[in-house]
């Protein structure tokens, strides 16, 4: 197989994964929220409403590409891609199984966090270029929020990385095989429980979901930074949000829940991607649960929480676990 073909195939595979994820996640969000809200959710288009999101994507794709005259043309058109492309790139080092990975990067989680830190740039750009006050406030909020929560997100990933002694997703997962005392799965969530909660909170903020959906804040900013977007440009912004949810849950699974491994038994290679996806979707379900039942923070409370609580706690935790790991490994 030529190199070009291999790259092309991987690219197509990633796009397929991202799109299918987006469609499935939007359907899942609607159904999960509906269950939490005593509603029914989509049930008209296709069996159990399964084709509803497909129909929505078709609608977005065929909509007229509108741009209001006072918007900044170049920035307005570029912003959705600046949000979408990092979300797409973040899929690259996600290993679904020991062999099923687009590119084997030694610095997997670091790469994901690095590309995702470009997202606020696109969001601010969208808010600014829209030339709407609502979008501007939404964009500014998103930037402040994501910068604040990126720090604890990174710090919380340090614990598992220190235990595994590597940033390589394969080695992190391999370090989580086997059991402690013969019956406790050797998943990092147990020794790193504090780091896991910090990761869960920070990733909920990074994916901009309630209680951290500052940039959208429907009851305040109507739709935040994506106010002026329609058609597929909005579709990109929306899709990026859902793909970030998948990424957050996938990285969490790799770092804390043993990746593609089943507890207690050896996982056959063909089963690994399925186990991984199931774990990721369970994580996403919990994110949606929080989204469906919690109110929203205020902006200052949110930033105060990040800088005054999460970051100090995660710093102390990093030092603590560093010392303990050093003592244990002796």
């Amino acid at each position: 197989m030529s190199l070009f073909l291999a790259i092309l195939l991987r690219f197509v595979g990633l796009v397929a994964l991202l799109l299918v994820n987006g469609v499935v996640l939007i359907y899942m969000l609607r159904k999960v929220l509906a269950r939490l809200h005593l509603r029914i959710g989509p049930n008209r288009t296709g069996p159990w409403g399964l084709l509803q999101t497909t129909a929505d994507v078709a609608k977005l794709l065929t909509k007229e590409d509108l741009r209001a005259t006072p918007t900044d043309r170049l920035l307005f058109n570029t912003a959705p891609y600046l949000v979408f492309v990092p979300a797409f790139m973040a899929y690259i080092p996600i290993a679904l199984s020991p062999v099923l990975v687009a590119a084997h990067l030694d610095t997997g989680p670091l790469f994901v966090f690095a590309v995702l830190s470009m997202v606020p740039l696109g969001v601010v750009m969208a808010g600014w270029a829209s030339n709407s006050k609502w979008s501007l406030i939404g964009g500014m909020r998103a930037a402040g929020l994501q910068i604040a929560y990126e720090v604890p997100l990174l710090l919380s990933a340090l614990g598992p990385v220190m235990i595994a002694g590597s940033l390589d997703p394969l080695r992190i997962v391999a370090a989580q095989s086997g059991t402690w005392l013969g019956f406790i799965p050797r998943w990092f969530v147990l020794p790193q429980i504090v780091a896991f909660f910090i990761y869960a909170i920070a990733s909920q903020a990074e994916t901009q979901q309630t209680p951290f959906d500052m940039s959208e804040a429907e009851s305040e900013l109507i739709c935040g930074f994506s106010n002026e977007y329609g058609g597929m440009r909005f579709g990109f912004l929306y899709l990026a949000e859902f793909s970030n949810m998948f990424i957050a849950s996938a990285v969490g699974t790799l770092l804390f829940f043993g990746g593609w491994q089943l507890p207690w038994v050896a996982t056959p290679l063909w089963l690994a991607p399925i186990v991984f996806i199931v774990k990721v979707y369970i994580g996403i379900y919990f994110m949606m649960w929080a989204r469906g039942s919690l109110p929203r923070f205020r902006m200052d409370q949110l930033l105060g929480f990040a800088w005054k609580v999460l970051i100090p706690v995660s710093l102390v935790w990093v030092v603590l676990s560093g010392v303990v790991i050093r003592l244990v490994s002796r």
Binding site: L33, I137, A217, R296, Q301
Partner: protein, 400 residues
């Protein structure tokens, strides 16, 4: 810094004409003053199409970043001239338009009007009619508070409680529909009594609601008032001092949450309230959280009242004999009821004709909204939304 109005239309106006200032007094595009940058305050139009203005309220807000410097409520988008229309309606027809004033709790406006007419024409009301009026008003109060509590949760970002409360509200609306024939536009209370007796078998669905009301409301309380985030959002936000509340003529839960004990049901008992045992919850601080607590407790009290009304419902006629073309003697009366939003009064002037000479509606939400300019300045955008929501405004009643 300049006090001059924005004069963008100056060029097309005839010479010598002064343009209408586009910004109301108090809102200025001034330099921000945060730092030495050449930034200026942002004037933001909130509404009339905005998810959190509870109808068609338009707010002009002066922002410094996220901070609200000044805010002004602009009303009138739902003005239908109800007071003027009332001058061409006969007394028994009035329910249809008065229901549409406060569309969330129509029974209160209807009853206020009926009480005013009865006072003017000196009509005796059968005891049963009074009890039925109290019953439907209390049910309506619960329905109205449900539809306040849910959206205030949504203002704070919680979607689920809203839909849970809709379930209970639907139970009440089914009962009210069985009683009056309509879910919200009842036209049921008339001068002299009520249109029909309570339908047979209304007991069962009412008792079904009574059985779950306190429990389900408790669940919602756990989700909202028991939630750390919700408390942080509501506590200390939108504080109304008792003096301010009195100065603005506020009433209802907004006044009581500031610690002033004034409830028309106790202060000037009407209908069956003199014979019923219930408490009036009071707040202490006067912030948004107190208003939340007071309204939730009011629902519990209403449940108590409905139970008593149902148990002690007297026998007898549901209305007295009233001429269809009622011509009250010339005169002037004022009658008020405690609506979910406060003192809802009808000021009625008759010249002896078949229609009122003048009808004025004292709409409580109008007075409660008056405090907005004072209340919203100084908070953040998020505080503004929560404070505004906590006032429980109904634009149909404010604009009339």
């Amino acid at each position: 810094m300049s006090d001059e109005p924005v004069t963008g239309v100056q060029s097309i106006l005839p010479e010598g004409t002064q343009p209408t200032p586009m910004l109301p007094k108090g809102l200025k595009r001034v330099p921000s003053g945060v730092d030495q940058l050449a930034t200026e305050h942002l004037i933001l139009n909130v509404g009339p199409q905005h998810p959190s203005t509870h109808g068609v309220l338009h707010m002009l807000v002066e922002l410094d970043g996220e901070e609200v410097i000044a805010a002004e409520a602009d009303i009138g988008f739902l003005h239908r001239g109800i007071e003027k229309l009332a001058e061409s309606r006969r007394y028994h027809q009035m329910g249809t338009i008065l229901d549409r004033a406060d569309y969330v709790s129509g029974f209160h406006t209807e009853t206020a009007f009926a009480l005013a007419t009865e006072k003017l024409a000196e009509i005796e009301v059968p005891r049963k009619a009074s009890w039925i009026r109290s019953l439907v008003m209390e049910l309506n109060r619960c329905a109205s508070h449900y539809v306040w509590l849910g959206p205030v949760g949504m203002d704070a970002g919680a979607m689920a409680p809203f839909l849970y409360l809709m379930r209970e509200r639907e139970m009440i609306l089914d009962v009210l529909e069985a009683i009056s024939g309509s879910r919200m536009m009842f036209n049921y209370v008339r001068p002299g009594g009520v249109v029909r007796d309570l339908p047979a078998g209304i007991d069962a669905p009412l008792r079904a609601w009574l059985a779950i009301a306190d429990k389900y409301l408790g669940e919602t309380e756990d989700l909202l008032g028991g939630n750390e985030i919700f408390r942080a959002r509501m506590k200390g936000v939108g504080v109304i001092a008792p003096e301010t509340a009195l100065a603005f003529g506020m009433s209802g839960a907004c006044l009581r949450s500031s610690g002033i004990d004034f409830d028309l049901r106790k202060a000037r008992p009407y209908c069956a309230y003199g014979e019923i045992d219930f408490d009036v919850p009071l707040g202490t601080v006067g912030d948004a959280f107190d208003r939340y607590k007071v309204r939730v407790e009011e629902i519990h009290q209403s449940v108590r009242i409905v139970r008593q009304l149902l148990d002690g419902m007297p026998e007898g006629e549901h209305t007295s004999k009233v001429a269809k073309a009622l011509r009250p003697p010339a005169g002037e009366v004022y009658a008020a009821v405690e609506s979910p939003r406060g003192e809802l009064g009808i000021h009625l002037i008759s010249d002896g004709g078949p229609t009122p000479y003048r009808l004025r509606l004292r709409s409580p939400a109008y007075y409660n909204l008056g405090v907005a300019d004072e209340l919203l300045a100084g908070g953040l955008i998020a505080d503004m939304i929560v404070s505004l929501g906590s006032l429980d405004i109904v634009l149909g009643e404010i604009d009339r």
